[in-house]
Symmetry: C2
């Protein structure tokens, strides 16, 4: 790694400092692919303008693109970028809430949402802490370690840990939650666990924002497997 007494903060910050780009990036925080047009609509700008921003973000390695037919799908480059942006949310003053529906959205996001591809918000933190409590996970510096109990737990839950470990991506990480200011489970394990929650029908996406909701089935499951009341 190259270390420098005067690193170039400004360049990176400039990319986040433009309102339209900030909207695009927070939209991509859900970890899913979005088309250029979709992102333009989210930011309320013309497609040309969005294209301009997307090129810039791609050149600076914040996002990547995949062409499929006439669509171009954009995604955050990796989880690190997501963490950086989430981290930024922790320090940025929230904009004023203008409408009732906005405050409802805010509450939904605080309750439960996806951060990149894993679970965040109050639910994400509660689940993670329950796992630590139950001795399924051990906390270290920046990672969680799956204990022996944990191996069994995740196996019972239908996850194949050995195949997850094979992925090039970090296996199990801590991600700082901007609304809770505590850590939740991230990394390949966080992703796999969250995917499984969707598969099992324990949680469902709330349309249009990256909030998620716990289903009846989910509430029962969280209670049974993690002694959680949600």
């Amino acid at each position: 790694m190259l270390i420098n007494p005067n690193p170039n903060i400004a360049e990176v910050a400039a990319l986040l400092s433009e309102p339209s780009r900030a909207i695009i990036l927070t939209t991509l925080l859900d970890g899913r692919f979005h088309t250029a047009g979709e992102l333009a609509r989210m930011a309320a700008i013309q497609p040309q303008t969005a294209s301009h921003h997307l090129t810039k973000l791609e050149q600076n390695n914040l996002i990547t693109m995949e062409k499929h037919g006439r669509y171009r799908y954009y995604q955050l480059v990796n989880e690190d970028i997501a963490q950086i942006i989430e981290g930024f949310l922790t320090i940025s003053r929230p904009a004023e809430i203008r409408s009732f529906s906005q405050s409802k959205q805010a509450k939904a996001l605080q309750r439960a949402r996806t951060c990149y591809d894993h679970l965040a918000g109050n639910l994400g933190v509660m689940v993670t802490e329950a796992m630590v409590q139950a001795d399924y996970l051990d906390k270290t510096d920046k990672d969680f370690i799956v204990t022996e109990h944990g191996e069994r737990f995740f196996y019972d839950f239908g996850l194949d840990l050995s195949s997850i470990k094979k992925k090039r991506r970090a296996f199990s990480r801590m991600c700082l939650d901007w609304s809770e200011r505590k850590h939740h489970l991230a990394g390949a394990l966080g992703c796999a666990f969250t995917t499984q929650l969707f598969e099992l029908g324990w949680i469902e996406r709330v349309p249009s924002i990256r909030a998620v909701e716990v289903t009846q089935k989910g509430a029962a499951g969280f209670k049974k497997y993690l002694s959680l009341d949600v």
Copy 2:
């Protein structure tokens, strides 16, 4: 705390996105006071321009000012801001190193420097980890907890923990080190400990940059008290 689905990242980022302001802020990272003129010289801009930036940074609560005579002394508002900026250094691509003396500076900074008012760099991380190793500190979420052993250690070291705890500032915190990417000891305790290192003559400032150097006396001390070879 107000939570918002679309918090205003852009505003905060914009403050960091201007090269001159970024230089001013990284200069202030040493936690000390600097005059307006000094900061202008660092950023290689005219005093009027610096004044303009400083006003802006002050209005946005990143820095504070104290008037003393005809000088105006500026300082980062608090340690949180320092952490945010240090955090940003972690993700920003370092600028090219242009000269030999710059790379020497870079190495000195990586070895040991002050971050706000506590010790950072390889030395800061090593010292902190030695304390954890020796069971003087316990790691938690975002803080270190001083153990019973630790109470005695710091007392022997000449620090009055009870008076430090009385300060309004957070007692003991983890700060992410941008060159080491590990945590070092921050907060009031980190400050007091570092101040004591200066007092004891274990470390000395390197003129003009925020690097510090370990003295012979310091090397012996670190070895004796923390079994550290520096």
